[in-house]
Subunit: 400 residues, 2 copies
Amino acid sequence: MPQSVQRRQAASTGRRLVRKTRPPALLAELALRRGFRVYQDPLANLFIRRDGKDGHHPPFLIGSHLDSQPTGGRYDGALGTLAAFEVLETLEDAGIVTDVPIEVVAWTNEEGSRFAPGAMGSMAFSLGHIPESWQDIQGTDGVFWRDALAETIAALPVAEQRALGFPISGYLELHIEQGPSLENENIPIGIVTGVQGTRWLEVTVAGQAAHAGTTQLAFRRDPMVAVTSALHMLYETVMPEDDNARLTIGRIAALPGSVNAIPGSVSLTVDLRHPLTDRLNTIEAQVLAAFQASAALHGCKVDIRKTFDMSPAPFSKAVIEGVEQAAGHLGLPSKHMISGAFHDALYVARVAPRAMIFVPCRDGLSHNEAEYVDPEHSVAGTQMLFQSTLDVLNTLAIKQ
Amino acid sequence: MPQSVQRRQAASTGRRLVRKTRPPALLAELALRRGFRVYQDPLANLFIRRDGKDGHHPPFLIGSHLDSQPTGGRYDGALGTLAAFEVLETLEDAGIVTDVPIEVVAWTNEEGSRFAPGAMGSMAFSLGHIPESWQDIQGTDGVFWRDALAETIAALPVAEQRALGFPISGYLELHIEQGPSLENENIPIGIVTGVQGTRWLEVTVAGQAAHAGTTQLAFRRDPMVAVTSALHMLYETVMPEDDNARLTIGRIAALPGSVNAIPGSVSLTVDLRHPLTDRLNTIEAQVLAAFQASAALHGCKVDIRKTFDMSPAPFSKAVIEGVEQAAGHLGLPSKHMISGAFHDALYVARVAPRAMIFVPCRDGLSHNEAEYVDPEHSVAGTQMLFQSTLDVLNTLAIKQ
C-alpha cells in the first residue's frame, strides 16, 4: 500500500488546485465518491468515516485542520488532513478491514485568525458543548462568529448532522514541524511526545511622559529605558540557559508615540513556553522580577497581567509507542520532540489517547506563503500516518 | 513699574478666562483699547506695535506663540506672549518713550500639532516667503492648511495687513523651561544662550518572522533582540557619559505585532540632541554603529534614515549681555542654559540678534494639562522681559 500512497501523492503535488470550492466541500465530495460517510457537528467539524468490523466501537480519529492564516502556506493543517484522507483511501484500496471505525477529522478554526480563540473545533469537541461566551465573538471583519458558523454549516448540505462530542478511541495527527529542527538534523520524522506549556503576559511599564529635548537624564522616568533593561537581562538568561525555554516579545508600543517625547508608558506582550510546568513557573517569576527591579530603578511602575495560561500537555505513552513501532516498520529515521506550537491534539488530549507526527518544513517557515514541504517528506509523513494508525490500534489494545 | 506688573498679574491669575473669543482676537481687542496698532501678515502672525521716537527704525520684537498642544497647558507660549503685552502696557503706563518701536509678536502654529511642521509663522517670517510645499499640507483633521490659514486671517478683520518678513532690531522671548532644571536648583530665571541641535532617525531592524513556540534560540533572527541589545548599549553610554546629550526613543512598533510570533521587523524613532554639532556627529555615529553591530550579531538587517536635522543655534552675545544686566538690575538669581526644545527664536535667529528667558514650570511638566507656573515666577519672568528689553536696546546699541 505504500505504492498507492506514493502514486497519488506524486500526482497531487504535480498540479495546483484552482477550484473555487471551499476545501471542506471538496474533501466531502471526494469522500462521498469513495463511499465514505460524511458528518458535520454543530461546530462545523468535518468527519469522514470508514466503518470497522465493530460499528459500535468509538472511532479512531486521524486528521488536522483545513483553515489557514491570512498569509499562511499550503501545508499547515492541510497536509495532515489530506494525508488522513489518503490513509482512508489506502485502507479502502488495499481492502484492509480494521476492527474499529477510522474517521478523518478536519477541525474548525484551528488558527483563530478571523475569530479568536483558535482551536475552537477541537476545544468544543472535547468540552462537549459550545462555551456561552463564544456567541458574541466578532471576527476581524466585524462578522459575528455565530453567523459565520451557520453559513459554514449550511454550505455543506451533503454532510449528515452529528451531535457535538462523542467517545473516540484515540487521535493521531500529522503536521508540519513549523520549526527548523528536523530539517537541520536531516531527520524526516518527528515523534511528538507532547505540547509545551504557554503563558502570555501583558506588561505595561508607566513612567513620566516628558520633553525629549529639555529633560536631563537625572530627571527622566523613561519606561523605554526600564523595558530595555529588563528585556536585555531576560534575553541574556532565559533562553541561553535553557534550550527548552522560549521567550518572545511579539508586540510592543510606546505611548503617546511621539518622536520628540519621552513615552509615558510602554506596553508589550511576553510569550513564554516550556515543556515543564515547574520551569514555566520559574521563568514567569524571572520575568516579573526583571520588570519590577528595572521599573523601580528607573522610577517607573509596572503592571503585569497573565492573559493566557496553557499547561504543558504530555501525549499518551501507548500512542507514542505505536508511532515508534511504525517508524521501525518503515525504516524511517525519527526523533522524539516537543511541539512548540498549539495543535488541536492539545484539546483532544483531554478526552482520548493521542500523539502527533511531525515532518520537516523548509527553513522551519510557517504562517508564511513561502511555507514548503519536500514531496519526499509529505510521502514519508503520510506513510507514517498510515502505518502508525495500524500500529497504534495494536498498542492501544483496542482490537476486540 | 514692577508694581503695575505685579498688580495686573495677581488679578489675571485669580480668575479664569471663559470667553470663547480666539486668543489672538482677544489680544488684538485689548491692544486696540490701549491705542496700540495691530497688524497681521499673510501667515497670520500677529503684531502689536508701540511706536518709538524713530518711527522708521526696525522694531524690536518681544513675544512668543498662542497656539498649544491638544492636551497642552496654559503657559507654553501664552506666558511669553501675554508677558510681552504686559511689557507694552507697562511702558505705556509708565510713559516711557523708547527710541525704537517695540512690537509684541504672536507667531502662528509654533506647535505644529494640527499642521506640521511647527514654527511655521517664525519660519516663513525669517524666510520672507511661504514655502510652496506648504500649500498642500493637510491637518490631522483633513483640512487644508491654506484654508485654515485663510479662515484664521479672516477671523481678525481689525488687524491691518502687513507684508511677510521685515527688518527687525532684535528678538526676545520669555518661555517656560519645559524641563525641571530651574525648579530643581530653585533658580527663577534661565538666561538661554542657544537652542541645542536635534536629529531624528528612523531605524528599522528586519529579521525573520517565525513561530514563537517552535523556533529555538539558535534559529532565531529576532529583530526585537537586536534592538534591545543596541538600545541597552546606547542607554548605558550616550547620556551617562555626557550631561548635555539627549537620547529618546519615543515610538517603537514590532511587525506583524502578534503575541505568538517573533516579529519580522521592529521600527523605532531616535531623537538625538546636543548643543554642539561635533558631539551630535559622534553620537549619531555611535547610534549607527550600535544598531549595525547588534543587527549583524542577531542575523538581522538594519535600515536607518535621517528624517530631521536641525543644527545647534547659539543666541546673540549682545542680547544675552542685556538679559544678564537685567537680572543684575532686578537682583534675580539666574543661570545660563541651553534650550532643549525648539522655539520660534530658533528661526528668528537667522535674521536678527535674539535670546530667550526661561522661568521654571512645576515638575518640568509641559505639553500636559497639568503644566503650571508659580505666579511668583510668572511675575519675575515678566519683570525680566521688561527690564531686558530696555537693557538689550542698550547692549545692542540701537539707540540713536
